[in-house]
Structures are given as structure tokens and as C-alpha cells.
């Protein structure tokens, strides 16, 4: 049996899955502060009680947490020092010397995680090929280390120039530190991110060091607490790329966990894609659309795999402004996030135009209709006025909404200044936020050279199913899925994620001048390390899958594309195959190739992964609150006029029975809006399937 545990900002979600029977039990408990471990233990106790299962019969626990992200955002990491090549101590502060907003005179750049007084330059130097120009002086290293430890440093990051080409100096410093001060955490750039470009590599290394002590402490306590309660199985940790790592791996490279929660949401797409495919549907391309209170996120799953990127920033100065954060070039699920959620505020800007977001009323004070003092109209207020939401059945009726306050806010700030009716203003808010999300999703899909139309959208998050229909229409999609179990979606994703590890090295060279022997030997070494890691995690050798790619570009270009490599030993004979793959990728993205331009490699990556967990998947469906699928009707506004539309109870919908849109389907956590010219049904797993014509 397997248990997925996801710690979110408000709730800790749990899913218990019996792979044999396909039985699944869901649990939810409040996240506890300051120590989230307590919440986990509460949840585990509860789910054990609900299911009648004991902890020692659980083989695998998969865990995801926002611990690392929060530590970086709130600057609550360890007292960290950074050792660099002398003369380059300020690399974190100098950054890339680029403003992220060219019109804002008052911008601020993210402050480095290590202050100047703890950034120490050491005399040593290597050239671009990793040849030693100035040897490392271990006596100096020891003096510096002693001084730092005396000053209370708990963690040390080491990032020397060209360490990706030759890690010897970093390793020597690491060995010395670990030997002399075993209680001080050490992060080496050649281990954390052995990639060219000193700022990005140092940024990732410093962040790894910054969060390492608290991650180690937390994971050790988690292991101990579960063991004490009888757990004897394996614990895996969800990383940002939708892959699992071991407790040991997570403690060495905690920055891998930065995006584990959102990754769970996308991996839930993999879960449902598999479930629906097994039932005979064609859902090879899925767009996961998650709209919550503050943001909307979209990501793609194609042929059972999430799209991965290595461009990620943590702790942005401005949440939606690229370049305003600390870069961490780890593998993460490629996701766009914009400021569009239920709490996003609508207003008329200086141009007299209606804008929605990116600022949000969040949950405090929340939308005007929450009656907690929110003055500004929000997306949720508009959805309520349009009849999409039920003021008596929000969160299953546990939170009554004030329609009068929503109308008042929209009237005052939007309708009256524009001289239009309240419902027209509300419809405008609804359309503008949908348009924002569709524009972002369209650009995201186009950047990959793909056509949005064949995608199936999977909508989740509190506001996702309310807006998904309209967004899907704007994108020209024809199918929408609102999965069951939406309340614990990330935790579901954990259960289908494979154990995997990714290793990289940078080697900048033209393909026609490549030293293939050296490439092969480094790849072999990385593959061996990956296989060892997986075998230690319990994966058998014949289940291991190896995927190799290289980031390449036309020599002289600055932007790399990821190119799959042929299997086996590489040599000059592989050139036609590699060139072909490169040109395929290049054409996909840019619609042309540049014949005769030499191609060069930058970074080589190898992903070694275990099998994707298989499970026969059933969902426990909560009891219906009424016998009739149709609870009644209510007026809803779909543009020109009010329509009296049927309101359905999701839990009471008989499987496979077709209902015509427009209709509104209510459930505890959300509301699904189905517009005209569509049919909707509940499949045997409890998912809502909407076909749009």
C-alpha cells in the first residue's frame, strides 16, 4: 500500500492507495505551524483510523512539501557562507546586471542569500578547460573555515570558476570541511549544478546551502516519527520535475524540492491521462489548468510525460515578473503562472480599461462577497453575480456568500463608471480574466511550436472548473475534464511519479570538433551513478530507463534547445542522427533551419528513471446529498441575456448519462460551469467529461 502526503499552505492532503484492490481513501487535515510534522502525524492517524490500515502495512510513503520554497521566500534558512574564487566574491550581488522592468525606476533586485561579510574569496583558479592555474592553498581554506565556524555559520556553499570542468578544488574544500566540521552542511557547485555560467551556478549552490540544514532536520524528524509509529517502508520525496527522490537525495539537494507541490498537480494530469486512456479515451495531449485564489497555472502533459524546463526562479521580487527572482536552473515542470484567481481584483485603470489582477484580495479580506471587509470587486464576486456560484453552497455551504456585497462592489467600481449594468460588468470581468489566462496558455503552447487545439484540458483548483469552459473555448479546445478527487490532487500525482535522478555536465564544443571519448566516459559515469542511486532506492536493474539529451544551439546563438541523443556510444558516426534531431527540434520551434551553420553543445543531461508506478485506479465517491441529479435551476448570465439553467449535483449524477449545456454542476470544493453547445457526463471514475462542439 502507498500513502501520498502533500503539505500545502492551508491543508495537508493525504491519499492512501491499495494498488492491489485499487481502493483509495482520501484525507485532509489542517497544516500546522510552525512545525508541519504535527499536521502530517494528525493526518496519518486519521487516515489510518478511517481506512482501518496500520502504518506498518504501508510499503511506500511519498511526500511533498512547501518547506523549501517558504524558507527561501521568508528568508528563514541557515546562516550560510559562500566561498568563491578570489576576486569574484560579489557574483551573487552583481547578478546578470539586467533590470527586469525597463519602465520602473523604483525597482529592487533580490537580495543575495549570503551577505557580503560571509562571502569569502579563496586564492585558486582554473581555466576554461579545468586546468589548474593557481593551486588551492588548504592552509588558507582551513583558516577561513575556522573563522566562519566561529562566526556561527551552519552551512557553506562553494562555487569556484570553471568548477563544472574540474571539480577537484571544490571537492578538496568539501572534504576538509566535512572532515573537520561534520555538523556544518556543505554544498559544492560541481555537485549541485555543474553547468557553465557562474552566476546561475552560484545562485543555485548558495540556495541549496541555505535550505539544507532545515531540510535535513525536518526529513530526519519525519523519518523518526513515522518509524516510531510502526512505519517500516520507504519514504520518497517529490521533486520539482514530477520525479521522486530518496530521503538521502532530498537532503543533499534540497533545492530540488522547490516546486514539489505544483509538480504534484501536473503529475495528477499524468494520473488522469492514464486513467482515461485505460478507459479508451484519446487524451495524448493534456493541458493541466489550475486556478486558485491568487494565481492560475497551466502546464502540459504529452504522452504521459510532463514538459520539463530548467529556467526557474525562486522568491521573485515581483511574482509574475521574469528576471526578478533568484535563478535556480534545476529541472522543474514547465508551468506558466499568472495573477488570475478567484481573488484577483478588477478595476478600471488609468486608460479607463477594465483590468483584472495580478493583485489579489487573497483570502483576507477576500472577495467582497466573503463579507470580511473586502471593498474591491473580484473574479469570485463576478462569478457569483453571474449565477455561476451558489451563495448558499460555497464550499458545500460551509461559507455563505453575500451577493449584495458583490453587486455593490461591481456596481461602484466598474458598472457605474462605465455606465453599464452590473451583470454586464460582471461578464466583462469574467471575460477579461479568461482572456488573460487563454493568452498566457496560448503563448506557452506556441513557444513549444505546438497547436493548442488537440489538447484536452484538465481543470482543477477552486476556481478552475468555473472558468475552464470559457478558457477552453478561447483556445479552441474541444474536450474538458474536471477530475474527481480534486481536493487532494497533488497527493494523487505523487502516487504515479517515478523515482528518477537527473545529472548534467557542461561541455561547450562544436559537434564537428567534439571529443567523443570524453563525452562517452562522462555520460557513462553519470549513468552509472544514476543506476546506483536507483538500485539503492530499490529499483531493479532491468526496470531502469535512461534518457539522454543535450542542450545545443547553432554556434554563436545564446539560446539552447534540448535535443534527444541516440542511445549507445556516441561518435562522429552519430553526427547525422544528432543533427537530424537538432533540426527537428529547431524546426518545431522556429519553423526553419540554418543549413551549413555549425552546431554546438552546451550542457549534457542524463535522466535515469525507474518505472512509472502502475495502479488500477478507482475513486471513492462521496455520498450524494440528494437523490436527483438535478437539484433545481437558477438564472445565469452567459453574455447577452439571463438563462434559466439546470443545476446538477455532481455526486448524484448517474454515470455515463449525458446532460446538455448550459448547466452548472455543484460539488463540495468547486463548481463546474458548462456553457451552451456542449454535453457533459460523469464517467465511471467520477470524472466530469465535457465535449464541446
Amino acid at each position: 500500500m502507498k500513502l501520498g502526503i502533500d503539505i500545502g499552505g492551508t491543508f495537508t492532503d493525504l491519499v492512501l492507495l491499495d494498488e492491489g484492490s485499487g481502493r483509495m481513501v482520501l484525507g485532509k487535515t489542517l497544516t500546522t505551524y510552525p512545525d508541519p510534522l504535527q499536521g502530517i502525524l494528525n493526518g496519518v492517524e486519521q487516515i489510518m483510523h478511517d481506512s482501518g490500515v496500520s502504518l506498518h502495512s504501508i510499503g511506500v510513503i511519498v511526500h511533498g512539501t512547501t518547506l523549501v520554497t517558504n524558507a527561501v521566500i521568508e528568508r528563514k534558512g541557515a546562516r550560510t557562507a559562500l566561498l568563491t574564487t578570489a576576486g569574484f566574491e560579489d557574483v551573487l550581488e552583481i547578478g546578470r546586471e539586467m533590470r527586469y522592468d525597463i519602465y520602473d525606476l523604483f525597482l529592487t533586485m533580490p537580495k543575495p542569500l549570503v551577505p557580503r561579510s560571509l562571502r569569502i574569496g579563496l586564492r585558486q583558479r582554473m581555466d576554461k578547460n579545468g586546468r589548474v592555474l593557481t593551486p588551492l592553498d588548504l592552509t588558507e581554506v582551513e583558516q577561513v573555515a575556522d573563522r566562519l565556524v566561529r562566526r556561527g555559520v551552519q552551512s557553506v556553499a562553494v562555487s569556484f570558476l570553471h568548477a563544472f570542468a574540474n571539480p577537484e578544488h571544490e571537492q578538496a574544500v568539501g572534504d576538509l570541511l566535512r572532515r573537520k566540521y561534520p555538523y556544518v552542511a556543505v554544498s559544492l557547485s560541481s555537485e549541485v549544478l555543474p553547468e557553465i555560467r557562474e552566476y546561475e551556478r552560484t545562485s543555485a549552490t548558495a540556495m541549496n546551502a541555505y535550505v539544507q540544514p532545515l531540510t535535513q532536520d525536518y526529513l530526519r524528524r519525519l523519518r523518526r516519527a513515522l518509524t516510531e509509529r510502526g512505519f517500516q517502508g520507504e519514504i520518497y520525496i517529490m521533486n520539482s520535475a514530477g520525479r521522486l527522490t530518496t530521503l538521502e537525495g532530498a537532503q543533499r539537494f534540497p533545492i530540488q524540492l522547490l516546486e514539489s507541490g505544483p509538480a504534484g498537480g501536473t503529475m495528477a494530469g499524468v494520473f488522469f491521462q492514464r486513467q482515461l486512456t485505460a478507459a479508451g479515451n484519446d487524451v495524448s495531449q493534456l493541458l493541466a489548468f489550475d486556478m486558485g485564489g491568487t494565481t492560475a497555472k497551466a502546464s502540459m502533459v504529452r504522452q504521459g510525460q510532463p514538459e520539463i524546463t530548467h529556467h526557474f526562479e525562486a522568491a521573485r521580487e515581483r511574482r509574475f515578473k521574469k528576471g526578478s527572482g533568484l535563478p535556480v536552473r534545476i529541472p522543474v515542470i514547465d508551468m506558466i503562472e499568472i495573477g488570475a484567481g478567484g481573488g484577483s481584483i478588477a478595476r478600471l485603470d488609468a486608460l479607463g480599461l477594465l483590468t483584472v489582477g495580478p493583485d489579489s484580495a487573497a483570502s483576507q479580506p477576500g472577495p467582497a462577497c466573503y463579507g470580511r471587509g473586502g471593498q474591491w470587486p473580484t473574479v469570485t464576486d463576478a462569478d457569483l453575480v453571474l449565477g455561476f456560484l451558489n451563495e448558499h453552497y460555497f464550499l458545500g455551504g460551509t461559507m455563505p456568500l453575500r451577493r449584495d456585497l458583490a453587486e455593490e462592489a461591481i456596481e461602484k467600481h466598474i458598472a457605474r463608471p462605465l455606465g453599464i449594468r452590473v451583470e454586464e460588468a460582471a461578464w466583462g470581468i469574467h471575460r477579461v480574466v479568461n482572456e488573460n489566462m487563454a493568452n498566457a496558455a496560448r503563448v506557452h503552447i506556441l513557444e513549444k511550436g505546438l497547436d493548442p487545439r488537440p489538447f484536452t484540458m484538465m481543470a482543477f483548483g477552486g476556481a478552475g472548473p468555473v472558468h475552464a469552459f470559457a478558457v477552453a473555448r478561447l483556445l479552441g479546445l474541444s474536450r474538458l475534464i474536471v477530475p474527481g478527487g480534486a481536493g487532494v490532487l497533488s497527493a494523487l500525482g505523487f502516487l504515479v511519479s517515478p523515482i528518477a535522478t537527473e545529472a548534467i555536465f557542461s561541455h561547450v564544443s562544436r559537434l564537428d570538433r567534439m571529443d567523443w571519448a570524453s563525452i562517452n566516459s562522462r555520460m557513462a559515469e553519470m549513468e552509472h551513478r544514476g543506476r546506483t542511486f536507483l538500485q539503492e532506492a530499490g529499483v531493479t536493474a532491468n526496470q531502469i530507463h535512461v534518457h539522454r539529451v543535450a542542450e545545443m544551439r547553432y554556434a554563436g546563438q545564446g539560446h539552447d534547445i534540448t535535443v534527444p541523443l541516440p542511445s549507445g556510444t556516441l561518435s562522429a558516426d552519430s553526427l547525422p542522427a544528432i543533427t537530424y534531431n537538432f533540426e527537428q527540434e529547431y524546426t518545431l520551434r522556429y519553423g526553419r533551419v540554418l543549413p551549413h551553420m555549425p552546431i554546438e553543445s552546451v550542457t549534457w543531461r542524463i535522466v535515469v528513471s525507474g518505472p512509472s508506478p502502475q495502479a488500477s485506479l478507482h475513486q471513492q465517491v462521496k455520498g450524494a446529498v440528494s437523490q436527483q441529479a438535478q437539484k433545481g435551476t437558477r438564472p445565469a448570465f452567459f453574455g447577452k441575456t439571463w438563462l434559466e439553467v439546470p443545476v446538477l449535483d455532481r455526486y448524484a449524477m448517474p454515470a455515463e448519462q449525458r446532460f446538455n449545456g448550459p448547466c452548472i454542476i455543484e460539488e463540495f470544493e468547486s463548481t463546474t460551469v458548462v456553457g451552451p453547445d456542449a454535453v457533459v457526463w460523469r464517467d465511471s471514475f467520477g470524472n466530469l467529461i465535457i465535449e464541446m462542439s
Binding site: I94, R96, Y103, L105, A350, L354, L418, V508, G556, G558
Partner: protein, 561 residues
């Protein structure tokens, strides 16, 4: 429903309410951004790619700008509409455009003030005219910095316009879809790295095509037959917002004078600016500015407009999207033949040096009108250094380096270290630089205390030193600023530390290298650069006495007119 009065006529007038306008407007911006993404990712030129040194602009049938790509650099503000209007007026009247046409030019007086900036304009057709011809509904254009344009290597030292490489007057690069092979061949044989230069030109064409495809989809989706009416709404709304913002500022004529390095030796330049705010318009008059300079740092008027409008926009309405309307209330003038309105055959290559300074007198003048919304002077607009030579194995290389000084202090915020204004260029990572050129970087670190003191101190500059470790000399072209002068502080804030530039010989001796100009870095020699710090804002709090920053930087009293 509220409608904003259209100011242009169109074949099928259509009204837009505020909500439709919001949606269509954001879609137009999304369209030029998609095109910009295509260009940025496929370009070879490092400045186009890494520094977003490009712009994509969608224009109506009269060449009025409707939407400009959001990431583009300031130097291109207003430039493409200027170009298209000139094309329509002087080169290709509306009836001469056909579907599949693409026009190219690098005319500095029509484009962005020097030859490496290449403008590419494509007409957009949709539907038919009553006579059954394809209907011209607008233009899309982009401008980007080319990897090379021939002539002397880029820098400040060309003696005249003709030394600065190939001049391409407005010509059809594609004529109704057919490649102009003559022109392609001419470009190919006149530039270094022809593959890359032509590759970038084709990337520009592809970016326009991408924009056209997306626009046509939008036309279909919303049943539009033309974009002039929509454009008129957009322009009117932006113009109103800009005028409303200017109206808030007190009327008056505000004077500022700013001296800069010029050649960095004995030929400085003086920028004089009288900025008048009257009602909802701004006039900037540069009368009194130095005459054209013997170095190639002369600017043309449309480029001067871009760099004058930019700080004004940052101060008054940073959030209003860029289009025709946002610039209508701004008027810029400089006397013909002066540094800021250079005429043929003045050399223009490093005109950015001068354009990048204009914010300084403009901010100084604005500091008298809106003291809380300006920033103190920045250490460097950017220092640029071009290296060229050979690796030990004989391969040739050309490498551009960009370095930032300290950012100026602002009300409530200190200046950031190593950020440029108005330029915005990412640096070249040390490890990439060492892979691209036979150099060893000895140091790249902040210079503590180089920012001017103040209640909100200026940001620190940096020290950057690299050595030629190859066997061949490296040719260098230096373009620096504030070696002689310092970044001014405001309201009692102190000036930033000035910059320094010299070569260290293998024997450890310092030798001269020109602040603006060419030099040769011999094997074993080291070039040392110390970037200037930014100015402080407000008097340092420890000091009670009010002291003006520097005599030249002290804001003069406004003369109300």
C-alpha cells in the same frame, strides 16, 4: 456603454466598449510579444538576444503605432512608426505595397541612428477592397541590432558616415514574396559573418510573419475587417492617460545643463536642455548643446526623441503601453548640426553614448517639477567593449562586453549595485567570456563606497579586469563614460565615484588606453576597468548641513513661463 471617440475614419467603422477594447488591446500586445519571442530566440546577435535590443511594432495603415513588444529597449521608442511614415511618404506610397513584400533599410535617419540597426517592414493585407484587390490594413515592423554591417569595427572612431559600413536605403528585400537576390548578395559580400547577419535578417522577416499570422487569426475570431478603428481607440486612450499624467505636474520651464566626457580626454560635450511643461504637453529643447563631435558619438533626431521620451515616460506613466498616443504630447527639438541632430556625413556609430546621456539632463530638469519621482544619476548607461582577434589555433573571434555601473538613489530606495539606466543589457558571464576569447578574468567585484553618499545612497560600481592569455594581440574598442565626470546626486545626495580605465603591462606598469577608441592589448597585458558609482538621493542623514552635490548637478531654479 461608454465608447471612446474614434479619431480616424475607416471602411467599416465599428464601436468598441471598454471591455472589448481591453480584450483586443491585450491581444494585440500578445501578438507583438509572440513575434518578439520568435526574433529573440532565433537571433544570432548577442545584443538582440541577451539584451532584447530589438522592437516589434504593429502599425495601422498610416504607420501609427498600435502596439510595441513589451521587452524592447528604449532606443526604439517611436522609431518604427517614424520609419513607416517616411516609407509611405517618400519611398513606397500605399498603392505600391503588395502581399509578400518586405522592405529593409538601415538608414540611420529613418531607423535607430546607426547602421547596425536594421529595420524590416512588412505590409499586412486582409480581405479585399471594393475593386477586388487585397486590402492593406496595416504594417508590422521590427528593428534589431545586426551582428555586423561591414565597415570599420563598431566603436566611436569612424571619421565619417561612409566608414561605418554598408548603407541600405529603403529597398524591397522580398518583392511580392520573391527574394531580391541582388540585395541578398550585396549584403552577404559586404559584411563579416554573413551567415549570421543574413540569419538575423531572416529571423526579423519570420518575426513579422508570425505577427501577421496571429493578427489574421484575431481578425477572423472577432470579425474585424480593419484595425484602424481599433487603433484609433487605443491611441486615443493612451494619449489621454499620458496627458492626464503630465497635467498633474506643475507648469514651468525647467533648465538643466550636463557635462559629459565626450572623448574622455580634452573634448567634453555639453548637453543643455530646457524642459517646458505646459498643460498636458512637454517640450524639450536642446538648444545650446555642443556641436557635432569629431568622434562617432553623434545622434540623429529620431533617436534623440526615443531617449528623451523614455525617461519622461518612466516618470509620468510607466504603465501606459507604448503606442502613438503615449508620445503625442511629447515634443523634442535640437538645432540642426548639433550633437543631437547630426547631418550627413557625421559619423554615428557610437551614438548610444550620447543617447544614453539624455536621461541625465531630463531627470535633472524633472527633479525640479516632480522631485519624488526621479532618480539620481546612474554611474554608467553601460560600458561597451568590443574585442576581436584570433585564438591560438587561428580561429577568429569577436566578443561584445557590457558592464554596468551603480544605479542612482531614489526617494525611499538606495541605488542598486551594477545596474544600468537607460540601457538594459545582461552581462556576459565570466565563464562564457573565457570560452569565447583567449582571456583570463582576474577580477569582477563591487567597489565598496563607490556609490554617492546620501539618505538613499547611489549603487556601487564594479572592478573588472581581464588579461590577454593568448599568443596574438587582441584588438579592443573601448566605449566608456564618466571617466572625467561623476554621476550627480540629487537634493543633497553626493556624487558617485568616477570610473577608471587603464592597461597593466606584464611588467606591472600602467599605461594609457583611450576611454573611447581603439587599442591593442598585447599578450600578457591586462585591461582594468573601474565602473563609476551612482549618485545619492537626499542629504546623508549623519550630516546636518545641506550641501549641493556638485555645482553642475545642482538643480537650477525653475523659471515659470
Amino acid at each position: 456603454m461608454t465608447a471612446i471617440t474614434p479619431t480616424a475614419t475607416s471602411p467599416t467603422p465599428r464601436d468598441f466598449d471598454a471591455i472589448e477594447l481591453s480584450i483586443l488591446w491585450s491581444r494585440l500586445i500578445s501578438i507583438v510579444d509572440e513575434a518578439g519571442t520568435t526574433l529573440q530566440r532565433t537571433a544570432f546577435s548577442s545584443v538582440t538576444r541577451e539584451s532584447a535590443d530589438f522592437a516589434v511594432v504593429l502599425m495601422d495603415t498610416q504607420g501609427q503605432s498600435l502596439a510595441q513588444s513589451s521587452v524592447s529597449v528604449p532606443s526604439f521608442l517611436g522609431v518604427l512608426p517614424f520609419l513607416v511614415k517616411a516609407l509611405l511618404r517618400d519611398h513606397f506610397p500605399p498603392e505600391q505595397w503588395q502581399p509578400g513584400d518586405v522592405v529593409i533599410t538601415n538608414d540611420p535617419w529613418l531607423c535607430a541612428g546607426h547602421k547596425p540597426d536594421i529595420g524590416i517592414v512588412s505590409p499586412i493585407f486582409y480581405g479585399q477592397t471594393p475593386e477586388g484587390h487585397p486590402r492593406l490594413i496595416g504594417f508590422i515592423g521590427c528593428i534589431a541590432h545586426s551582428p555586423d554591417i561591414g565597415g570599420t569595427l563598431w566603436g566611436a572612431n569612424a571619421r565619417d558616415f561612409y566608414e561605418e559600413g554598408l548603407y541600405i536605403p529603403p529597398m524591397k528585400l522580398f518583392d511580392a514574396g520573391r527574394r531580391n537576390e541582388t540585395l541578398f548578395r550585396l549584403i552577404q559580400t559586404n559584411v563579416r559573418a554573413p551567415q549570421q547577419t543574413l540569419g538575423d535578417i531572416l529571423a526579423q522577416v519570420a518575426a513579422n510573419d508570425q505577427g501577421i499570422r496571429s493578427l489574421l487569426r484575431l481578425m477572423d475570431e472577432y470579425g474585424l475587417t480593419e484595425i484602424d478603428t481599433l487603433g484609433a481607440h487605443i491611441i486615443a486612450a493612451s494619449e489621454k492617460a499620458m496627458r492626464d499624467a503630465i497635467r498633474q505636474a506643475p507648469d514651468g520651464t525647467y533648465h538643466a545643463e550636463y557635462e559629459a566626457d565626450g572623448d574622455g580626454l580634452n573634448h567634453p560635450v555639453r548637453l543643455k536642455c530646457a524642459l517646458t511643461i505646459r498643460g498636458d504637453e512637454i517640450w524639450v529643447d536642446y538648444t545650446g548643446t555642443s556641436p557635432a563631435h569629431p568622434l562617432a558619438i553623434n545622434a540623429v533626431l529620431n533617436y534623440v526623441f526615443a531617449y528623451t521620451a523614455y525617461p519622461i515616460k518612466c516618470v509620468f506613466s510607466p504603465e501606459v503601453p507604448n503606442n502613438e498616443g503615449s508620445f503625442r504630447p511629447i515634443h523634442v527639438w535640437a538645432p540642426e548640426g548639433c550633437l543631437l541632430n547630426a547631418q550627413k556625413p557625421a559619423p554615428l556609430g557610437a551614438r548610444n553614448v550620447t543617447g544614453n546621456l539624455l536621461y541625465a539632463p531630463v531627470m535633472l530638469a524633472l527633479s525640479q517639477a516632480v522631485p519624488e519621482r526621479v532618480q539620481a544619476d546612474c554611474g554608467a548607461a553601460v560600458w561597451v567593449m568590443v574585442l576581436s582577434g584570433r585564438h591560438d589555433d587561428g580561429r577568429e573571434f569577436v566578443e561584445y562586453l557590457f558592464l554596468a555601473g551603480g544605479y542612482g538613489g531614489r526617494k525611499g530606495l538606495p541605488g542598486e549595485p551594477t545596474l544600468c539606466y537607460p540601457t538594459n543589457v545582461a552581462n556576459v558571464p565570466v565563464e562564457v567570456f573565457e570560452n569565447d576569447a583567449p582571456v583570463l578574468v582576474l577580477e569582477k567585484k563591487l567597489i565598496p563606497g563607490s556609490g554617492g553618499a546620501g539618505q538613499y545612497p547611489g549603487g556601487a560600481g564594479q572592478r573588472f579586469a581581464y588579461q590577454n592569455i593568448g599568443q596574438h594581440p587582441i584588438h579592443i574598442s573601448n566605449v566608456t563614460e564618466k571617466i572625467r565626470h561623476q554621476a550627480y546626486g540629487l537634493f543633497g545626495g553626493k556624487t558617485g565615484r568616477r570610473g577608471r580605465l587603464y592597461v597593466l603591462t606584464p611588467q606591472g606598469k600602467r599605461r594609457f588606453t583611450p576611454p573611447k577608441g581603439h587599442d591593442t592589448l598585447l599578450p600578457g597585458e591586462t585591461l582594468v576597468m573601474e565602473l563609476p558609482g551612482g549618485g545619492g538621493y537626499g542629504a546623508p542623514q549623519a550630516t546636518k548641513r545641506y550641501r549641493p552635490a556638485t555645482p553642475s548637478a545642482h538643480p537650477q531654479h525653475p523659471q515659470h513661463g
